[in-house]
Structure formats: C-alpha cells, structure tokens
C-alpha cells in the first residue's frame, strides 16, 4: 500500500517537472504586452508587422477585475514593452508587476491626458487617443530603435485617421437636439465632455462595474429621467443588461442593449462591430445618434 502511494507520488512529481513547455515567442518578433483591448488595438496599429501583440484582458472581458494566468505573468516579465492604460483601469496590474517584474519598459498610455477626477476611460475622446498612441509610439521607438521609422510612419497614418474620426463625430452629433445620456455605467465621461452631451445618470453609479443600485437610487434615477425627458438608455456590451432594463421599464423609455449596445470598458470581440478602436467609436456614435434623433 505504501509502495503504491510512493509510486503515484513519484509519477506526479516526475510528470510535473518533466514538462518543460516551449516558450512562445512566435517567430522571433519582439513581444509587446497590452493590458486592455483598446491599448492592444493601438499597439497593433503602431507596431504593425514589426511586433507581436499580447493582449492580456480579452475584448468583452471586464478589465477592472482580472486574475492573471501563468502565460500572462511570464509574458509580462519577458516582453520588450508593457503598455497599460493607467488611471486605475487595471487595479490588478500592481500585484502582477510585483509578482513578475517586467524586464522591459512599462508605459502608461494615458500619461499627459487631462483627467476627469479619476475616470480611467480616457480613450473615448479621440484627442486623448492621439496622446495615447503618441506615447505608445515613443515607447516602442525607444525600446526597438531599429524599427523606429516604421512606428513613426504608422503613428502619422493613425493620427490622420483619428482626426478624421473626430471630424465625422462632430458632424454627426451636430443635428441632435436632445443630448441627454443615460448609460449603463459612467464610462463615457470624456466622450460626453468632448461632444457636448449631458450626462443624466448612470445605471450603475460608479466607474466600477460591480456596484448594484439600491432601490432608493433606482427611484431617484427614474424621477430624474422622467423629469428631464430622456429618450433612451444605453447598455454596454460587457455588462448584463438586466439592470438597465429595469430602470427603463420604470421610466418608460427605450433601452438599447445587445448588438446595439455601447462599448464602454473594452472593444468588442473579433468579428463584431467594435473590434477595433475606430470601428468601436463609430459604432457607439451611430447607436447614440440613431436613438436620440
């Protein structure tokens, strides 16, 4: 009996130590880690074919709470550059950084952006996105100087696209008279500020995703909605729409959820209408304008 146990134990240990997994460095390209889907998209554009992008928090997954995998920890340590959003979007990054200290450069993409009291969702204003991609390009250029020319070229091209985006949005929202916005949570502050919308209230009253509204809060919000004549409530892609539905039914307004939902915390999954930053922004604007027209 004891021998059987010893044999099993030996097998387990052997099996464990025997496995030496191949390191995934993919055809020798330098790896750039991006902690959220938006930053990943930016890095993809700026880095182009010169780099391999490793996205930690996948699209559609809540970036506020995340438990890292061994692959995440290993890649973060060995990557050439690690790009984070900053402003507390990724509270999990601090302990990850301590557990697996990056040997490469760590960049906070939102450095230089004018912040709205601790709101991390800076990318919803294309002007901020410009600042972010510029920081990313600078960091990539410093880490991989021989590819600097590529990065600079990509940056210029992307900034042109961002300028175009900004102009398009401004034109589209110009015709709106009712600019009152109720969204699933307060992730669109920068967008609202830039394009002159009015924020009536979020269904979830904080920037974080998990707080539930108390009955009193719901009643307060419903009163506000009714008083101010809001036309629609928007629900986000990475959150359950049930809460938004509840408020809308109470206040008697349209609830935009599902495929028409707004992308607040992250991009949409590959193949969806919001799988790149530019597509995501255009989708959000289209949805809002249609509902409020």
């Amino acid at each position: 009996m004891v021998r059987t146990v010893a044999a099993l134990a030996a097998l387990l240990v052997l099996g464990a130590t025997g496995c030496s997994p191949a390191t995934k460095q993919g055809a020798g390209l330098p790896v750039i880690v991006a902690t959220s889907s938006q930053t990943a998209d930016f890095v993809r554009f700026i880095g182009g074919d010169a780099v391999k992008v490793y996205s930690v928090v996948k699209p559609g997954v809540d970036p506020h709470e995340y438990e890292p995998t061994p692959a995440d920890l290993t890649t973060i340590r060995t990557a050439a550059v690690v790009v984070t959003n900053g402003v507390g979007l990724e509270p999990w990054f601090a302990k990850v950084r301590a557990a697996s200290p990056p040997t490469g450069v760590v960049v906070i993409a939102s450095d230089g952006v004018v912040l709205r009291s601790g709101d991390p969702h800076v990318w919803h204003d294309p002007a901020n996105a410009k600042i972010m991609v510029t920081s990313i390009a600078a960091a990539l250029g410093k880490a991989l100087p021989d590819k600097n020319a590529t990065f600079t070229a990509n940056l210029t091209a992307y900034i042109a696209q961002l300028d175009q985006l900004d102009a398009d949005i401004t034109a589209q929202v110009a015709s709106l008279t009712n600019r009152k916005l109720v969204t699933n949570h307060d992730a669109f502050g920068y967008f609202i500020d830039r394009y002159g919308f009015e924020f009536v209230g979020a269904v979830i009253p904080s920037f974080d995703t998990a707080t539930e509204l108390s009955t009193k809060d719901v009643q307060v919000l419903v009163k506000k909605i009714r008083a101010l004549g809001v036309k629609a409530i928007f629900s986000e892609s990475s959150l359950p729409p049930k809460t938004a539905q509840a408020v809308a039914t109470e206040a008697g307004v349209k609830v935009i959820t599902g495929d028409d939902a707004l992308y607040g915390d992250s991009l949409g999954p590959a193949g969806s209408d919001g799988d790149t930053y530019l597509k995501m922004m255009r989708h959000n604007v289209r949805t809002i304008v249609t509902a409020l027209a």
Partner: protein, 277 residues
C-alpha cells in the same frame, strides 16, 4: 517553468502550506473535526474581510477573526444539546453572510470576494510567504509540544478528563490551530479551498497507514506532490495551450483524484481478500 520567479514563489508557498496543512489535517482527521474545520473557514471570513478593507494587513485581521471564531465555536460545541449541529450551522451562515455584507459595501465587490475565497497563488508576495512560514513554525511547534495530549484527548476523552486535563482548553487549542492554518492559507489559496487541504490528504493518508506520524508525513508529502502537479498543470495549460486552469482548484482536484484512486484500490483489495478467504 521553475525559472519564473512567480512560479518559484508559488511553489515555495505551496510547500510551506503542505507542512502546516498536512500536520493540522492529521489532527482534524483524528478529532473527526472536518465539519468544524469547514465551519471555521466561514466564520473567519468577516474578520478577514474587515481586515482587508480597514487597510490592516490581512494577517492581523485574520488572526483576530481566528481568536473570536475559536472561542465562539468551542463554547458552542461544549454546550451539548440535541440541536448541536443546527446551531453551529446557523452561526456559520450568519458569520459568512456578515462577511459578504462587509465586502459588498465596497465597489470592487466581486474581485475582492473572489480573491478572499479563492486566493491568488500566482501573485503571492514575500510578506505572505513569510507569514505562512511563521504560522507553520508556531503550529508545528505547538503540535510537537502538546501532540501527545491532543491524541489522548481525541482517543479517550473520558479517561482524559478523569486524569484532570481540561477538555475545553485543549479543544480551544485545536480550533485555534485550525484557524491559524486558515490564516496562513487564505491569502494564497483562499478560504474556500483550505478545507480541501485540511481534509483530503489526511483522509487519503489514513487509507495507507495506521500510525499517526506516518499519516502526518504522507499528508504533507501528498500536498507537496499534488501542489507541484497542480501548479505545473496550470502553467502548462496556460503557456502551451492557452487554457486557463486556476492553480488552487487544480491542486484540489488532483488531491481528490488521488484519494479516489486509493479509496477504490483499497475497496477492491479488501473485496478480493474477502473472496479469497
């Protein structure tokens, strides 16, 4: 795999926990105390939660919670009534709910709860390892010092009491030791999975040996081996196959599988012997 600093730290933590959980798990087995051990993981939860948010080190809060829960539970089980278990269950549920209330006042509710319940073995830091090691030294020290009295009490409480030993004191000690293990393991593997470490290895070791010191050693060895296996599985699954396997859960499942295999083998052997006889 072992060249990664986070894996080294996780492995070290697992090995330390193996020692303390294996030893106390043996005591839990011998005292037939598995339910109480489970109860303690729930009653300690609010104290742990409060400490987490008050900004104190998790360790201090968990220690306080351990003392309070221990006293309450020991007092409660010493009041021998018919509805013993239901009162205990009520206490467990109340404490746990209180803990959830405490946690839910915070905005980052879900992630904090997840960490408390399931730990984060992969991001375990130096202070956690040191705390675990300290607790291990203290617990093993106590077991060495009063081990013989603990076993005597478990085996024959009547004769034990007749000799003038205080049952209540020793029972409080046992509960305190279990609580300390929960404190040590909570950060790394979470309160929900600690019970697995306390109950399964000793039960498996019992299948293999009749002697308490051997049961203890086998328990420790089992946790160490399954810990290594679970960590490795988590690593290989993630790095090679992009499959997420939470290490704490992997360790628990492997421990249970080993128990299952051994239990079945034992059953079959006994059956064959009976037929042959």
């Amino acid at each position: 795999m072992l060249s990664e600093p986070f894996m080294q730290r996780a492995l070290l933590e697992v090995l330390i926990l193996a020692v303390v959980s294996g030893c106390v798990g043996t005591l839990v087995l011998v005292r037939r105390h598995a339910f109480v051990a489970d109860a303690l993981t729930h009653t300690m939860f609010p104290g742990v939660a409060i400490a987490f948010f008050a900004g104190q080190s998790l360790f201090v809060g968990a220690l306080v919670a351990a003392v309070v829960s221990t006293v309450l539970l020991t007092l409660l089980s010493s009041v021998r009534r018919v509805d013993d278990d239901s009162v205990l269950a009520l206490l467990v549920a109340t404490f746990f709910a209180a803990g959830v209330v405490v946690v839910s006042r915070r905005a980052s509710f879900t992630s904090d709860l997840t960490s408390l319940l399931f730990g984060h073995l992969l991001t375990v830091d130096r202070s956690t390892i040191v705390q675990s090691a300290l607790v291990t030294v203290v617990v093993v020290g106590v077991l060495v010092l009063i081990g013989k009295e603990l076993v005597f009490r478990s085996f024959d409480p009547e004769a034990f009491r007749a000799l003038g030993y205080r049952l209540l004191l020793l029972d409080a000690m046992t509960d305190a030791l279990v609580a300390l293990v929960i404190v040590a393991a909570a950060r790394a593997i979470g309160t929900a999975l600690v019970v697995a470490l306390l109950v399964t290895p000793a039960a498996t070791a019992r299948l293999v040996s009749d002697r308490i010191p051997i049961i203890g050693l086998v328990s420790v060895g089992l946790i160490a081996a399954c810990g290594v296996a679970g960590l490795s599985l988590s690593y290989v699954a993630s790095v090679d196959h992009d499959v997420r396997v939470e290490p704490g859960a992997a360790i628990t499942v492997i421990l249970t599988l080993v128990f299952g295999v051994l239990a079945t083998t034992t059953l079959l052997t006994r059956h064959r012997r009976r037929i042959a006889a």
